[in-house]
Amino acid sequence: MTMNPLSVKEIIIIIVILLSSTCISSLASYFLKKASPADGGNKIKILLSPFFYLGGVMYVVSAAANIYLLQKLPYAIVLPLGSLTYIWTMFFSNRLLGEKITGRKILGMCIIIAGVVLVALGKGK
């Protein structure tokens, strides 16, 4: 696939879309967690929770942004950059849910991102 060189303006737009779409995708999983009753709760409540649909819509929005990015950048670049989502999730789960960010979680996240980079490199050929 050939792609035109990008102007500075386009690069800025791409960076903004990238940061916001990964942020939205991460917040989507936060809202799905809010929609989820804790251990043993009634699961039917999920379908009645507005947070479930909010999370769902946010996933669709981030997927649409991803399709846009794929038109501008090669798959082998878009796929690993999507891993920013995991970094956002670490941030939000700490800020909004008070979860501890341990060295082990960060290590695991880095290993996953490295794996995704390799997957993308292999597919980019």
């Binding site: 999983s29 799905l32 996953i112 390799l118 993308a120």
Partner: protein, 130 residues
């Protein structure tokens, strides 16, 4: 590690199922769209759009089921442990495409990447402290 599996175990299993549905859903709705000119179909009127909709419907149903399973799963543990398990969808996607699209070649680097992702998920999955 054992403690984390006790605390997040159900969530981890449910997130694995949802990652599998994500990969399966993607395969189900992308394949039928591969040779379709979407703007042309959209311009062709109701019957064309309806048949396109029916083609992608199974994939979306699997997606929706995956979203519900993921939501249930997120109720059983920490978001910072469970959300990264979504990355297993790359692993399942590779396995599914090897089974259903055997003509597509898979590079060694991708296979190594898949094992690295699995390693990362194991590190995170066993990482929770009270």
């Amino acid at each position: 590690m054992i403690e984390s599996l006790k605390k997040n175990g159900k969530g981890i299993i449910l997130l694995l199922i949802s990652a599998f549905s994500l990969a399966l859903g993607q395969l189900l709705w992308k394949k039928p769209l591969e040779n379709v000119d979407i703007p042309l179909v959209l311009a062709s009127g109701f019957s064309g759009i309806w048949s396109l909709f029916l083609k992608v419907l199974p994939g979306f149903i699997v997606y929706a089921i995956g979203a519900v399973v993921m939501t249930i799963g997120l109720g059983y543990g920490e978001l910072s442990v469970l959300q990264p398990i979504n990355s297993m969808s790359y692993v399942f996607a590779l396995i599914l495409s090897a089974i259903f699209v055997p003509t597509e070649s898979i590079s060694v680097i991708t296979v190594i990447g898949v094992f690295v992702v699995i390693a990362g998920v194991i590190v995170i999955g066993g990482s929770s402290k009270k």
